[in-house]
C-alpha cells in the first residue's frame, strides 16, 4: 500500500529564514511525487512535481529514493508562503489517483 507521511502539522518560521517541509513516502514501485499548496480560502493547486525538476516561487524538492523522501525547501521564507502544504504520491503503473499526506501548515511571521 502506498502512504505519504508529513510529520509536522505546523511549521512556524520567521521571514527570511530557511524552510524545509518534510515528506516521506512508502511505495514499492517508482512513484511520482508532488507538492500541492492551499492558500487561505483558495483551492488546492500544484506547486511542483518531481518530474518537472523546476523551482516554483523559490521552492525546490528533491526525490531521495534511498531515504524515500521528497522534502520541500526554500532558502528564504516570505509572508506570502504562509499556507497549507500537501505532499502527494501517484504510482507510475496505472497513474491516476493521488495519495496525500496529512499536510503541514506553514506560518511565516515577521
Amino acid at each position: 500500500a502506498q502512504r505519504v507521511t508529513q510529520p509536522e502539522k505546523l511549521l512556524s518560521v520567521f521571514k527570511g529564514a530557511p524552510v524545509e517541509l518534510k515528506c516521506n513516502y512508502s511505495y514499492s514501485g517508482s512513484p511520482e511525487l508532488f507538492w500541492y499548496v492551499q492558500y487561505s480560502r483558495q483551492r488546492l493547486q500544484l506547486l511542483l512535481r518531481h518530474i518537472s525538476r523546476e523551482s516554483i516561487k523559490g521552492f525546490t524538492a528533491d526525490l531521495n529514493k534511498g531515504e524515500t523522501s521528497f522534502h520541500l525547501k526554500k532558502p528564504f521564507a516570505q509572508e506570502e508562503d504562509s499556507a497549507m502544504y500537501y505532499c502527494a504520491l501517484q504510482n507510475t503503473g496505472t497513474a491516476s489517483k493521488l495519495t496525500f499526506g496529512t499536510g503541514t501548515r506553514l506560518q511565516v511571521t515577521l
Binding site: 511520482e32 483551492r43 500537501y86
Partner: protein, 117 residues
C-alpha cells in the same frame, strides 16, 4: 485561465437524504476525480472516471456513492443516503490524461463542504 468549478460551495442535509454534488471540469480534460477531506484529516481519493466509466475507486466509494457525467460538461457525485460520517469537504479534479507527463496534472476545484445533520 480555465478552472474546475463546483456547486454548491456548502450543502447542509439531513441524515438519510440524497445529495448531488456538481462539478464542471476543465473543458478539454478527459479524466475526472472525486476526493474528500474530513475535517482535520488527509485528502482521500474516492473515484476516477474516464470515457463514461469508473476507472478506479477506493474502498470508501461503496454502493451509497455514484458518479455520472450527465452531459458534456457536468460531473456529479451522488450520495444516496447520507450518514453523519459523510460530512467532509468534497473536491473534484480533472486532468487531460492519466499519464505522468506534465500535461496530466490534476487540477482541483474549490470544494463543496457537505454537512450532514
Amino acid at each position: 485561465e480555465p478552472e474546475v468549478t463546483q456547486t454548491p460551495s456548502h450543502q447542509v442535509t439531513q441524515m438519510g437524504q440524497e445529495v448531488i454534488l456538481r462539478c464542471v471540469p476543465i473543458s478539454n480534460h478527459l479524466y475526472f476525480y472525486w476526493y474528500r477531506q474530513i475535517l482535520g484529516q488527509k485528502v482521500e481519493f474516492l473515484v476516477s472516471f474516464y470515457n463514461n466509466e469508473i476507472s478506479e475507486k477506493s474502498e470508501i466509494f461503496d454502493d451509497q456513492f455514484s458518479v455520472e457525467r450527465p452531459d458534456g460538461s457536468n460531473f456529479t457525485l451522488k450520495i444516496r443516503s447520507t450518514k453523519l460520517e459523510d460530512s467532509a469537504m468534497y473536491f473534484c479534479a480533472s486532468s487531460v490524461g492519466a499519464g505522468l507527463s506534465l500535461a496530466d496534472t490534476q487540477y482541483f476545484g474549490p470544494g463543496t463542504r457537505l454537512t450532514v445533520l
